[in-house]
Homo-oligomer: 352 residues x 2
Amino acid sequence: MTEDERTPGRPHVTLQDVARRAGVSLATASRVLNGTTQVRADLRERVLAASGELAYTPNAHAQALAGSSSMAIGVICHDVSDPYFASIARGVMRTAAEHGLMVMLASTFRDPAREIEYIAMLRAQRARAILLIGSGFEDRDWERSMGAELEHYQRAGGRVAVVSRHRTLKADAVLPQNREGAAELARTLVGLGHRDFAVLTGPRLLTTVADRLGGFADALAEAGIELPEDRVIEAGFTRDGGYAAAERLLNGGDLPTCVFAVTDVMAIGALAAFRDHGVDVPGQVSLAGFDDIPIVRDLTPPLTTVALPLDLMGERVMELAVREPASRRSRVERIKGEVVLRSSTAAPRQRR
Amino acid sequence: MTEDERTPGRPHVTLQDVARRAGVSLATASRVLNGTTQVRADLRERVLAASGELAYTPNAHAQALAGSSSMAIGVICHDVSDPYFASIARGVMRTAAEHGLMVMLASTFRDPAREIEYIAMLRAQRARAILLIGSGFEDRDWERSMGAELEHYQRAGGRVAVVSRHRTLKADAVLPQNREGAAELARTLVGLGHRDFAVLTGPRLLTTVADRLGGFADALAEAGIELPEDRVIEAGFTRDGGYAAAERLLNGGDLPTCVFAVTDVMAIGALAAFRDHGVDVPGQVSLAGFDDIPIVRDLTPPLTTVALPLDLMGERVMELAVREPASRRSRVERIKGEVVLRSSTAAPRQRR
DNA sequence: CTGAAAGCGCTTACAG
DNA sequence: CTGAAAGCGCTTACAG
C-alpha cells in the first residue's frame, strides 16, 4: 500500500477505497467482505483483489456502530497474576480465539469501585458479554450495586457469565462444587487418621471461602469432629495471607495434626511459613489446599488438594457467554472437584 | 432508567436523549460530558443531571469513529498462564487503569499466524498501541512478516512497544539486560567454586535464550572455563521443557556441579526432575534460574536466580506506549537484573 | 458560549 | 444480484 492508493489525508484504507478500486458500490464491497448475500463471481473477485492489494482492514468501530455487533468480551478478575485466574484465563483465551473474539481484560484487586467502573467501560464498549471470574461477596451492598450495574448491561442485550457463586446475580454460571469438594477432602483426611484440624481462610464474606469452610466443617461434624472457632484462622486471600495465617497458628500453642488452606495459593504461603519455622510437612503437620493450580505439584512436598479443571472452567464460562440460551433461565454448570492425595499429607504421627 | 425515558426501540440511552431531556443541543451535551470547551453553568448542570438520571453511557464505538481516538491497548503475549507474563501483566494492568485505558489481551502460543492475525484485529480495533510481551525470534521470515504488519499499523498512527529484544522491530523497548545478568550469575557461581556447568535452554532462536546463554558462556570463557556443546541442552521453553532437559542431563552420564536454567519456569521443571530422580539440590548439583518470578522463593530449596523487576517492566512498557515520544527515535529502557543467591546453589562438594 | 451540520466508516433495508 | 441512501452515535470545525 502506498500513499496515493488511498484517499488523501486519511490514515486508513476504507471500504470506500476498496469499492472504488474494484469499480463497485460500497454496498457490494461490504457484502463481499462479510459474505451475507450472494454477489456475482466476477465482482466478488475484483473486490477481494482490491481489498488485498490495498491491505484493507475494516474499522471495527464503524462495524460495531452500523451493525451494533461487537466482537469484544469483557473479562473481569481480581488479579491477573494470581495463578488460579491465570489457569482459567488460559481456557478463556483459547475459546475466545476459536470464536474470533477479542478479550478485554480488567483487574479489580477486589476494589468494588473499580469493578463498577469496569462494567461501565465495558458497557461503553458494547462488549458482547462480560465474564466475572472469581468469588462473589456475601455482602448486601456490594451485591446491590453490582447487580444494578449488570442488569443495566443485560437489559441492553449484554450477556453475563460467572465462575463461582454470586448470591443473587442473574447470570449463567460455572460453579465449582466447593462445599462438596471440601467435604470430600475432610472425609479423606479423617480417613487418614486425623482428628485435630485447623483451617486457614480468606475473608469469610467471599462465597468461595464460605462454601469451602462450610463444607469442610460440616463433614468433620458428621464424623463427630469439632472444628473450634479458634482453629479457623482468617487472613488475606493470598500467598502472604496463607503465610500470616500459618504463623498465627504456630504462635497459638499446640499444633493440629492437619491444616486445610482453602486455596492452593494460601497453602503455598502456609508451607513457606512452616518451612521457615522448622515445622516438617507432613512429619509434624499435614497440609492440604484446594484448586490444584499447576505449581503445587512442584512444591516440596507436593501438595494434597482438591483438583478443579481450571482450564476447562475457563472454556465453559466463555462458551456459556457465547452460546445463545435456549430459555430465559440462567444456565448453571456444576464442576466437580477431585481429591488428589500427594505427599503433603500423611497419617498423623502419634495416632491413638 | 425506565423504558419510556429513552428513544423507543433503542436499547441504549444516547447523547441525543440526554440533550433532549436537558433542553440543549447535541453539541452542548457533548461538550459538557467531555469537558473540552466552556459551557454555561446552568446548562452544564442540566446536562449532568439528565445524564445521571438516564444513566447515560457513551458509545465508545461512536466516540472512536467520530474522534478517531480509541482507549484500547493491545497486549500480545505467548501464554497468559506463564507466571513470567503474569507478573509483567500485573504492572501493565495497573498502569492501564491509571490512564483509563482498556487492555485487549491476546495469547499466541508462539504461533506466528496467530500473532499476525491478532495484530490485524487490533488494527481493526484502532487500538492506540500494541504491546509485545516476550522474546522475539532470531528468524528472518518471522521478522519480516511481523515487521511488515507492525509498520503498517504504525504508519496509521499506532504505537508499538515491546518487552525483550526484537532484532529489527522499530519500536520502543523495555530491555532486560539478559547478557549482563547471565554473565554476572556465571561469575557469582564461579566465585562459589564451580567449574563444571550445564545450561538448560529453550529454542536458541529466541532472542532471550540466545542472550542469556551467550552472556553465561562468555563469562565462563573469561574465567577460563569451557562450556562444551553437549552441556547445553535445548528443550521446550516451559516447565516441562525444563523437566525434560534435566532428565536428558541425568541420562548423559556424569553430572556437572552446577546447572543454569535460562528461565525460572524451566528451573522449576528441572528441580522437579532432580527430585524425582533422587538428586539432591544443592547437595549433588546446584541450580540457578533467571527472572525471579514470585513462586521461586517458595520452592524447596528456594531458587538462586537473576531478579528482574517484572511488575515494573510492565508499568514501563505501558508508559512507553502511552507517552508521546519526544523524537522519532525509538526509546529504549534497559532493565538490570540482580543476582539473588538462595539455597539452591552452594559450593561444590568435592572441591579441589 | 451555543447550535446546525458535516463527517467518521460501516451495514442493511429498500428499490430497482 | 446491485446500488443509492439512510442511519448507527458521536465530535468538532464553522457560523452566529
